[in-house]
Amino acid sequence: MATARMLLPARDTRALLIKWVVGLLVPVMVFTFVWSGEQILNNVLLGLTGAGSTPYDTPTLIQAAIFIVVFYASMMALVGYLVAADSGNRGMIELWIDLAVFTLVPMLLALSLGLVIGLALCAVIWPLYFIVRRRVVKALHYTPPPPLKNLKVLDAEQRAVLVSRAAAGGFWFGAVFGVVWLIVDLIYYISGALPTLLLILAVVRTVILPVAGYFLGRLGGVVAVRRTLAAKNSSNGNQQVSGDGRGVSQKRQLEVLSTSRAREEARDLVPNDLPLRSSGAQRFYLILIVAFVLFYPVLDPFLFGFGTSGRLASYGEAGYYVILALGLNIVVGFAGLLDLGYVAFFVIGSYSWGIIGSAKLTQILNLAPLNPHLLSALFWPMVLAAALIAAFFGVLLGAPTLRLRGDYLAIVTLGFGEIVPIVFLELDQYTNGTNGIVGVNSPAFPGVTWSIVTPVPYYYLILALIALTIFANVRLRDSRLGRAWIAMREDEVAAASSGVNLRNTKLFAFAAGAFFSGIAGAYYSAKLGGVSPDNFSFGNSVIYLAMVVIGGIGSIPGVIVGALAVYSINILLLAQLDTLASDSTNPLYTLHNAIAHFVPGFSFGNVRNLLFGIILVVIMIFRPEGLIPSARRRRELHHAEGDGEVELGTLDVTPGSAEFEAEVRIE
């Protein structure tokens, strides 16, 4: 094979190979050996070959096997992509530290504290790390190169070089990993902890890994090459007419961009200074995240041991916060309407399914009770109906606020947020008042049992609902309607003068936001098996808003992360501090005793809200634009600091200045 030559890298690519293969091998090995990668694989192999006994059933093992294959395959492809996409400008050590902070820290934290708590802590640690790094960079007087300095137009030959480099990356990653794994297995075998069959499979694996690495690395290389600048456009200057560029080559378009905008564009192009952040790498992250989330119920016992069903139940709860935050993001983030009463629509959605899905409706109508199975089947159309009912109320409550903006709008929506729950509370004969509704039916799906002790169906239900919500949000944002929202947020007068009907656009934003909270409400009452009116306070509206703001106003991934982070910090972490502190092996135990020594009767529960507030304040101080800000928002916030450079032509005069007035007077 001619590939042998390609796999022995030339000098310049050797540094890149070492940089990325070592950089990614460390976290992958920690996952495999320290955590549970190897354990999952061995269980899968033993179980599926029938050679040994595992405590897991076949469907579980098949799912675990799919995850394992997807995981290692996308890691190898990722290495290929990174090797091909890296411009080689950034140092090796710097990258390794970054990788350690962003992969090892969360893994070790999740391993010791549980997934959600670990990640919630990371959401605090990472921004702090950014700040420290920025300080260090400043202290070193480092000035980054111009963002598009390395941008080259690559011809076919150079592209082929990139692909073969990527293949080498995948190959070496697979080879080194395979050999290390084999050595580890040999040690286990000699110590007698490994059955002979597994050793044979380990040898097979050692052969497969480099071969698979070669092809997957190539795949990563192809992904990278797609993000290079096309050669044909600039080869003969401006004669080329490309599709919508109208005679302007892509390279030319990039060259004339301002520095701040060029930095944004350079993020995704190859060669790239920071390939880990490029959109190509994000593709692989997305595959990893989707695989992880999809197979999570199966992986959980491997990764975290006991308590799977409790954890899944709480993730099901975190899920509807994600939907609520995404819905509120439409109103606040896209359309710029500050809504402090968002909980009102959640109430409406909850009671929609609460009344119809329980015996309440037939009771009100004086009819014979319906068959619960029939009611359960009604859940599916009712999710849509609850969403539409909430959207209808969104329009109804939005209509009186049309002329209001900013703080005035906030106050009125705050009023609605108070009124609606009280109305439902007082409608005794329909809602049972303060007692709430009990006996709300769960959804029905052929072959699935829904109950509180089996949280898996709810987990997949909320996953599907979240997926639908994200899909709808992305599509709406990128459509004509989304553009109108954003334009309206930027400048109402200009938007109206450009043909945007302010009334309809605002009402549609309210309706769309309420629609998703209706979905969340229907899910919530079904999962809880009832509706309890104490969950609908003003405080909830504020929490939803905090999720949006902390995540990054107007940014869909940001809002998802924000919802999960706020939920984890508030519900899973702070609410559990006392439980954790009662375990004498936990460091919190010592901390608790130390404080209790000075403050008698101290418990973490007493200061929970204080801690929550402090965390929120700290995040907002250090990351005012949110955890994952949208590009627009980042610009808005930093523009005031003089980051965005406004070009003033030498002869340009801005209105309002003395020169301008002079010019006007002369005429």
Binding site: R480, L481, V493, A494, S497, S498, R503, E647, G649, L651
Partner: protein, 275 residues
Amino acid sequence: MSLEEAQHAGEPLLKLDSVGKYFGGLAAVQDLDLEVRSKEIVSIIGPNGAGKTTVFNLITGIYRPTTGDIRFDARSISGLTPDRVLRRGIARTFQNIRLFNNMTVLENVLVGEHTLLKAGVLGSLFRPPNVVREEAEARKRAIELLSFFGTELVERQDEYVINLSYAARRRVEVARALASEPKLLLLDEPTAGMNEVETLEAVKYVRRLRDELNLTILLIEHKLTVTMGISDRISVLDYGRKIAEGLPEEVRHDEKVIAAYLGTPATRAERKSVD
């Protein structure tokens, strides 16, 4: 065609009929009659605070006239909201450029095309082929509009407008107004803050807008050299009233205009003594 000819002969494209606007007791515009015929370039001039921009705001529905009636294309448009007015075929630019600063050049023009696009909620969600096509055509049209002003804006279509020079931003604003395919274009001081070269270029494109795109143009302009050069007719406002109207030559020599613009001989002497 015949309708257009009928208009040419009969009612003008835009007709303000004794329009007045009062803010409390203050009369911003009083008893104003104004006519703009198809394919004309008409200028409104006048000293600062004469009510020129108020007239634009009245025409485009940002303000509702207190008295009188505004007719466009033989139908009344007074009291319509700005987006309705735009749908009837009147687009505008603003004196202190109102672009969507954190959107790109291309996105700004696409917002301008809002009324031409049809995608609704379901279309946006499921993106059937016709919506995909519509969006692609919208982009193509936007780039064509930008290329009306040369290659600079096409090259910089992905730039946030806040990073553009002042003159370039003005052009984007005009492109956004053109995107709705209007019949009448209102330009509020299209050369404000520009140097001589840029002013000349702006004058050229205003003419081209009429000649190549068959637009009717009503503009507010401070620079008399500009207005005298491109206008078919000029109306002069002072203190919210029309004090003169006519061909550039007539207006230039009108006593009242000279007094309003340059001051009466008395005030001119006063200014000189201050200098």
